[in-house]
Amino acid sequence: MNVPTMASLFAENKQPEVLFWVGCAGSFDDRAKKITKAFVKILNKAGVSFAVLGTEEGCTGDPAKRAGNEFLFQMQAVTNIEVLNGYGVKKIVTACPHCFNTIKNEYPELGGNYEVVHHTQFLKQLLDEGKISLEGGTYKGKRITYHDPCYLGRANNVFEAPRELIQKLDAELVEMKNCRKRGLCCGAGGAQMFKEPEKGDKDVNIERTEQALETQPEIIAAACPFCNTMMTDGVKNKEKEASIAVLDVAELIANAEDL
C-alpha cells in the first residue's frame, strides 16, 4: 500500500491530483479502517495521484456542528481550511458522507473552496475513464441491497453513483422499502453515533436493518463508515452475521478485483 502524505510530496515539490480526506472514522475506527485501505488499494491499482494529510488532518467538525456546537465546528473548519489552502488543495475525495457534506457545503463560506467528491463518485469516474474495470466475478448474481446514507443521498442528491457501481459487479441490486430520497436514517447522524439513543420502542438501526432484511439480501452495501457500523450492529442483533455481510462499496470493488 502506497500512501503518500501531503507533507512528503510538498517536500519533493510535488502536488497530487486529489487529496484523500480520510476522516476520523476512517483513521481510527477498526471497521472503517478496512474501508480506507480498500479504497487506497483501488487508488494504487488505478495509478491515481493522491495524498493524505495524515497527522495534519483534524475532524471536520461535523459532529460538533450537528450537536449544536457551532463554535467548535468553526474552529475546526478554520484550522482545516488553513492547512488545505496552505497546500493549495483543489480537489478532495472522501469516503465519509459527513466529511463530504461539511467540506463541500459548509467550508466555502469560511474560505475553503474545493471540488469535493464522494469516493463512490470518484470510483464511478475511474470506471468511466477505464482506469479500473469491474468484472464482478465474486458478486455475480448476488442479492445486494444498498442503504442510502442521509448525508450523501437526501442531503446532496448522490443516489446513482453507488448503485451503478454495484450493478457493474453483475450483482442483483434490490431496493428497500425506503430508498433514495425517502431513505431511512441508520440512526448515527446528528452526533447520535456518540451517545445513547433516547427512549423509544427500538433503535433506529434495528428498524433500518429490518427493512434491509426484508429484501433477503446476501450483502448490505453501505457508503458511509457510520452507516456501516450501525447496519453491522443491526445484523448482529438479528443474529444474521453468518449469512449477511455489510460492506462498503469500495470494499465490494476491492474484493471483486482481488486487491
Binding site: M1, V3, C24, G26, S27, F28, D29, K33, K37, G54, T55, E57, G58, C59, G61, P63, A64, R66, A67, G68, N69, E70, F71, L72, Q74, M75, Q76, V78, N101, N105, E106, E109, L110, C150, R154, A155, N156, N157, K181, R182, G183, L184, C185, G187, G189, G190, A191, Q192, F194, K195, E196, P197, E198, K199, G200, D201, K202, V204, E207, R208
Partner: protein, 441 residues
C-alpha cells in the same frame, strides 16, 4: 326597501374582509418578532419553487391518493372564486347572475363548477373517513388531540356545507328558471344539481325563492366566515404556502447555516493582533444570543414555517426517531412554535404593544430536551413536507442554545466535543496516530 339587501351585503363584506385584514396584520407583526434573514438571493429559483410546489402541488403527489384528492379540493377552491366574484357583484348591485351574458361560456363555467363541487364533496368525505374511521397513524399522534383534531374536521364540515349550499342554490335557481320566475333569467347548465330538482317539485315559487336566497346568503357568509377562520386554523396554509415555498431553503439539504455571530468570534480569537481583553466599544450592540430558546430568537422564515404548517404529519411519519417510538415529532415542533408565537402575540396585544415577560419560553415549556436530542438531522422531515417547511432548522437552533449558552449537552456529547477540541477526533485517540492504519495489515 329594494336596496336593503345590497346594503346588508356591503356591510357583511366590509366586516368580513376587515376582520381578516386585522388578523393578517397581527400575523405579520408576529412573524416580524423573529430575526431578520437575507432571503432575496436567486428570485428566479424561488419563484420556480413556488410555482412547482405551492401552485403545482408537486410534493403533494408523492402520496398519490391524498395528493389527487387534495388537488381536487384545491382546484375546486380556486375556480369557485370566479363564482364568488359573481356573487359579490350581484350582492352589491342587486343583479342576478351578472356573468350570464357570457352565454355558452357561462354555461360551461357553471357546469364545471358543479362537477368540481361534487368531486370536492367526494374528496372531503374520503378525507373525513381517513381521519375518523380508518384513523391513519399520522393523524392520531399525541399532538393531534383536542383542537388540532377538531380543527381538521371543522374544515371538512365547512367545505362540505359550502359545496352543498352551492348545489342547492343552483338547483332552486334552475327550478325557478323553469317556472319563469321574475328576475331568474335562463342561464347556466346544471349537470349535477339537476338531479336535486325532484326535491323541489311541489314547492311554490315563494318557497323556492326563499330557499335560493337562503342558500345564496349562507354560501357567501360561509365563505366570509371561512376566510376569518383561517387565522386560527391549520388551514392558513392555503395562503401561506405561497410565501413559504418562496422562502424555502435553496441550499443542499445537508448544508446548515454557519452562524455569522460565531464566525466573528472565531476570527477574533484567531487574529494575533486582536486584544482578547479589550473591553467592547460603548456603542457595541449587546452580544447576540447563540441559538434559540424562544420564538423571538428564531428567524422570520422559521416563524412563517410555523404558521404555514398544515399538520399533515408527513414529516412525522417519515421521521426515524418518531418511527422508533421516540418522543420527537417534527410536526409537534412546528405546532409548538406556532402555539408559543400566538401566546407571545396575545401577550403583546394585551400589554399595549409590548411583550411582558411571562416566565415561559419555547424551550422546556413547549419543546423538551428529550425531543431535541432525539433528532438524527437526517432531513427526512424536510424532504417530506409538501410546503417546504424545515423543522430541522428549529431543532438545530435550539440545540445551539442548549450547547453554546447553557453547556447542557448530554454528557457523552460533551465527551465527544472535548475529544474533538483536544485530539481533533471525536474519540480519545492521539492525533499523531492518524496514520497508523497505513502500517496495519
Amino acid at each position: 326597501m329594494e336596496i336593503l339587501p345590497n346594503i346588508l351585503f356591503a356591510v357583511a363584506l366590509v366586516v368580513g374582509i376587515g376582520f381578516f385584514a386585522r388578523n393578517i396584520k397581527k400575523l405579520i407583526r408576529n412573524i416580524k418578532l423573529g430575526r431578520k434573514v437575507e432571503v432575496d438571493d436567486n428570485p428566479a429559483k424561488r419563484f420556480k419553487n413556488m410555482a412547482m410546489i405551492a401552485l403545482g402541488q408537486s410534493k403533494m403527489v408523492v402520496r398519490p391518493i391524498a395528493g389527487l384528492m387534495h388537488i381536487i379540493v384545491y382546484v375546486g377552491f380556486i375556480i369557485i372564486n370566479i363564482e364568488v366574484l359573481e356573487i359579490i357583484i350581484d350582492g352589491l348591485f342587486g343583479t342576478h347572475r351578472i356573468f350570464a351574458s357570457l352565454g355558452a361560456f357561462y354555461d360551461f363555467l357553471i357546469a364545471s363548477f358543479e362537477i368540481l363541487a361534487l368531486l370536492v364533496i367526494v374528496a372531503v368525505v374520503i378525507f373525513w373517513i381517513r381521519r375518523n374511521v380508518i384513523r391513519l397513524r399520522r393523524f392520531i399522534k399525541p399532538e393531534m388531540k383536542g383542537w388540532p383534531k377538531t380543527d381538521a374536521n371543522w374544515i371538512l364540515y365547512i367545505e362540505f356545507i359550502l359545496m352543498a349550499l352551492f348545489l342547492t342554490m343552483n338547483a332552486t335557481d334552475a327550478k325557478l328558471q323553469q317556472l319563469g320566475a321574475l328576475h331568474y333569467q335562463e342561464a347556466g347548465t346544471f349537470p349535477i344539481s339537476q338531479f336535486l330538482l325532484p326535491l323541489f317539485d311541489t314547492m311554490s315559487i315563494q318557497t323556492l325563492i326563499f330557499i335560493e336566497r337562503t342558500a345564496w346568503w349562507l354560501h357567501i357568509l360561509g365563505i366570509l366566515f371561512f376566510l376569518n377562520y383561517l387565522y386560527y386554523s391549520k388551514h392558513l396554509h392555503i395562503l401561506l404556502a405561497f410565501p413559504n415555498t418562496y422562502y424555502g431553503k435553496l441550499r443542499p439539504q445537508g448544508q446548515f447555516e454557519n452562524l455569522d455571530s460565531v464566525t466573528k468570534e472565531v476570527k477574533l480569537m484567531l487574529d494575533p493582533n486582536a486584544d482578547p481583553f479589550a473591553a467592547p466599544a460603548d456603542d457595541a450592540p449587546p452580544p447576540e444570543k447563540f441559538g434559540a430558546s424562544d420564538v423571538m430568537d428564531l428567524t422570520r422564515v422559521q416563524l412563517l414555517n410555523a404558521y404555514t404548517c398544515t399538520e399533515c404529519g408527513r414529516c412525522t411519519s417519515e421521521c426515524p426517531a418518531n418511527q422508533t417510538g421516540k418522543k420527537l415529532s417534527p410536526r409537534k415542533i412546528m405546532m409548538d412554535t406556532r402555539d408559543r408565537l400566538e401566546e407571545v402575540g396575545q401577550n403583546i396585544n394585551s400589554n399595549k404593544g409590548e411583550f411582558k415577560a411571562d416566565g415561559k419560553q419555547l424551550l422546556d415549556d413547549y419543546i423538551t430536551r428529550e425531543e431535541l436530542w432525539a433528532c438524527t438531522t437526517c432531513n427526512a422531515c424536510v424532504e417530506a413536507c409538501p410546503v417546504s417547511i424545515d423543522p430541522l432548522s428549529i431543532i438545530m437552533s435550539m440545540r445551539q442554545y442548549l450547547v453554546m449558552e447553557q453547556s447542557a449537552a448530554p454528557t457523552e456529547l460533551n465527551n465527544m466535543m472535548g475529544n474533538v477540541e483536544n485530539n481533533g477526533a471525536p474519540w480519545p485517540f492521539n492525533q499523531m496516530d492518524r496514520l497508523n492504519w497505513t502500517q496495519e495489515s
